[in-house]
Symmetry: C2
Subunit: 340 residues, 2 copies
Amino acid sequence: MDDVARAAGVSKGAVSKVVRNAYGVSDSMRERVEKAIKDLGYRPRIAAQAMRGSSFSIGLEIPNLGNEFLTQVMQGAAARLVGTGYQLLVAPGIGEMRGTPVLENLADRQVDGLIAISPEVTPEWLEELALDVPIVLVGRHDESVNYDTLTNDDAAGTRLALGHLRSLGHVRIAHLTIRTPLDGPRSRPPHSVRLEAYEQVMAQTGVEPRVVFCDGAPGSAYAAARELLSRDPSITAVFAGHDSLAIEVLSALATLGMSTRDVSVIGYDDIPIASHPLVSLSTVTQFGESVGRTAISLLMERITQGRTHARHYQVRPELRVRSSTQPVSEHRDAPSGSAP
Amino acid sequence: MDDVARAAGVSKGAVSKVVRNAYGVSDSMRERVEKAIKDLGYRPRIAAQAMRGSSFSIGLEIPNLGNEFLTQVMQGAAARLVGTGYQLLVAPGIGEMRGTPVLENLADRQVDGLIAISPEVTPEWLEELALDVPIVLVGRHDESVNYDTLTNDDAAGTRLALGHLRSLGHVRIAHLTIRTPLDGPRSRPPHSVRLEAYEQVMAQTGVEPRVVFCDGAPGSAYAAARELLSRDPSITAVFAGHDSLAIEVLSALATLGMSTRDVSVIGYDDIPIASHPLVSLSTVTQFGESVGRTAISLLMERITQGRTHARHYQVRPELRVRSSTQPVSEHRDAPSGSAP
DNA sequence: TTGAAAGCGGTACCAC
DNA sequence: GTGGTACCGCTTTCAA
């Protein structure tokens, strides 16, 4: 920057102003400085900028790169940031490096805003961190005061999925889900909300709920589904906690020589492959790209407009009916009359 | 840091040494300082560190988040970095913000190393940037001098795929690929190499090559495949430039009321969904996770061991046979005798 | 409007 | 081994 100042015959401060096109620079000076910048190929060091002001970066902590729903969120966030001058910095969590340390790491880099997706970080810790940097938490229904939350109405989505199955005559519907950490009354993980809504619906129909847990690792849903399907043939439909699990249920069906004509499957998220004709997975969409975009917008409200009160934004999910959900087949247990 | 120094009754410099566990600190001092750090919850600012030394970050520029092969590369890179103290910072390209500006952006953030995947950045520009920061370019076969390249043997992979199809009796094999920018003799994009290898194989068999281009956007391969399949029924197999394209070919087949018993399909990359029983896509794997891991290793050689000469690392691809490739069916044109 | 100078939070070299 | 101090490259008063 000194070089530029010397070349343009002005002071460092002036160059700084031109770079940030701040107030109080004459046209003639701006012109000279810009020429010098171009001639010398000068680029400001963001590290140095960050020490005094902004780093013009938004951190996105993502617990699992393999999750295609999260990929959609990333894409939405990246798209929303185009033209704002901010750069999206994605920090993937992996192994022991996930949740807290990753967010801390991003905060140490002086990002101007943080999108957290990790289910494994406590609300208390997040409140603390949110004192330093604007945060929006995606997915979990927290009653936060210092950070924003961005969720979808998981209970409504679940009712959409189950209502659809019931309209096809399904009664004995199993729920395949993952265990979620940190479940509390004021901090509810999405899968916990879905599970509860499932149990409520089943209670209303007077049918015993059938819940199967897996750990979410690749193959774990497959194994759980195989066990469920072979052990409990009265099940006519499976509501999977999200699409990746549902996809593995489809695998299990296929390798058991069955199809969705035998057992219907519905997922959650509407990941891209769900709409492929060979998969054709019915699901509930929560508009991942739009979630990513909204997350950035919420952050920007705090960064540029200085909002400080928490917002809790909720997306309305929608049903996507495809061919993995079919009317309950004739030879199965008939639906037990009309349910209340 | 001043606060820590005061609390521990030592100098700033001492604290700095403890933080980086550098040479020349007595145990008693280290103990006091560490206690003070813990008590005050001190965390060093990476921006400040970056100004004098290292930012302990590796930048990964990725042109397309939707590409699952690249997702695997990301995962491998993230996994390799666990425990090294370096953080992976992924900068996704999108819209006009891709290639050059994204890499520049990362470089401005003083990353210690850069993984570039973008096909759209010129070798000359990369050579220039590589003077400032260690770079490994993934995918493209550049004859670089300042940066490393990490590729797979695309010609061999193509021969694997085509050899497999020919062994099943296929002769009229089409190639669906994407147009690649910046094709030059000393900077060959993977798809250009695959295309050339395809043409060579076809020339050897004396069959007219049938190449179809699409732009790689979602749905473009589907449209191209539909057109190809309906216009040219003599085609018995399609070699797709990568798995995402192949998946769309499968879509096209399905919506045309056909299956892989009619037309075989083979892809490249072995993305996760390829092994799903409902998809079961034959393909060529280039071990994406391992590519990511190796990219980091190459970078680390430069960062910690100071290597300066370029390395050009090549992965040996392998065939993955699944059910999307079938023997050419009876009622189709019979294979024209034994090929040389 | 412009320039000079004081930091920001670290690192590294230097005497002690 | 330890503490003092001069930077790093930028932003931001504050005078001129």
